[in-house]
Amino acid sequence: MLSCKEASVLLSLSQEQPVGWRARAGLRLHLMLCRGCRNFRLQLDMIRTAIRRFRDDDTPR
């Protein structure tokens, strides 16, 4: 079973490139059981979305 530390590394890495099937399987199992890492995954997506939004958003502040 992956630790949260290992899972977080894989989640971050998934933002760069697809990870192998073995890692994906380990990650899926971990995420089923770990709310903190599920939240972390959502936060990573949000951070990426936010940066691109703030870069591209043309509406004046």
């Binding site: 630790s3 949260c4 530390k5 290992e6 977080s8 590394v9 971050s12 890495l13 933002q15 760069e16 490139q17 709310r35 903190g36 890492c37 939240n39 972390f40 959502l42 936060q43 990573l44 997506d45 949000m46 951070i47 990426r48 979305t49 936010a50 940066i51 691109r52 939004r53 703030f54 870069r55 591209d56 958003d57 043309d58 004046p60 502040r61």
Partner: protein
């Protein structure tokens, strides 16, 4: 020959400024590269319009100018290189000895709502600004300029493994900062 519309230029400038500021984190330097970009663009082509292909084209010019600035800066004052060990130590500190989160990431609720909130944007910018220079440079190359990891490694003269650690560290610290500054102040 049609002269570029004032409004088009202003709109492009605003976009280019946001882009340059996210990457360079310095108002003056960002203004300079945007100015150079617009001048280069005006010399290269008659007429501006607000369409998206022109934005793409301008962004291409801007990217080159930004990379030039970063190279020059790297030559003039090389950053003190954090060795991988200190990066790894910083990541270790976020987890307990058995690999659990010291502070498990919380539920941030509906992202769309936060993204609409100008206060969130302000906090996000603050959290980006507190990132160490070397970390921010690599992270923004990835997220703002959307460079591939290969390109970034070549530019910064580091290995893939180095870069992964830097990016991971950047995300961990950015999310921790946001959680304290933004989400910690709300009740879910």
């Amino acid at each position: 020959m049609t002269s570029p519309g004032e409004q088009d230029i202003q709109q492009h400038r605003a976009y280019l400024m946001r882009y340059a500021l996210l990457q360079l984190r310095n108002q003056e330097v960002a203004e300079d590269v945007v100015q150079e970009t617009l001048l280069a663009a005006l010399q290269g082509l008659a007429g501006f319009s607000g369409n998206s292909s022109q934005r793409t084209w301008l962004t291409g010019i801007l990217k080159h100018k930004i990379i030039d600035v970063m190279r020059r800066k790297a030559r003039e004052q090389p950053l003190t290189i954090n060795d991988d060990e200190s990066e790894a130590d910083a990541i270790d500190a976020i987890f307990s000895a058995n690999g659990h989160w010291q502070q498990p990431p919380a539920n941030w609720g509906d992202p769309a709502k936060s993204l609409e909130d100008s206060k969130f944007r302000e906090m996000f910018e603050i959290c980006c600004r507190v990132m160490p220079e070397r970390t921010a440079r690599a992270f923004m190359m990835r997220e703002v300029m959307e460079m591939s990891t290969e390109e970034i490694c070549k530019e910064l003269k580091i290995t893939q493994a180095n870069l992964w650690v830097i990016l991971h560290r950047a995300r961990l610290s950015l999310r921790a900062c946001l959680e304290i500054k933004w989400f910690g102040t709300r009740t879910n």
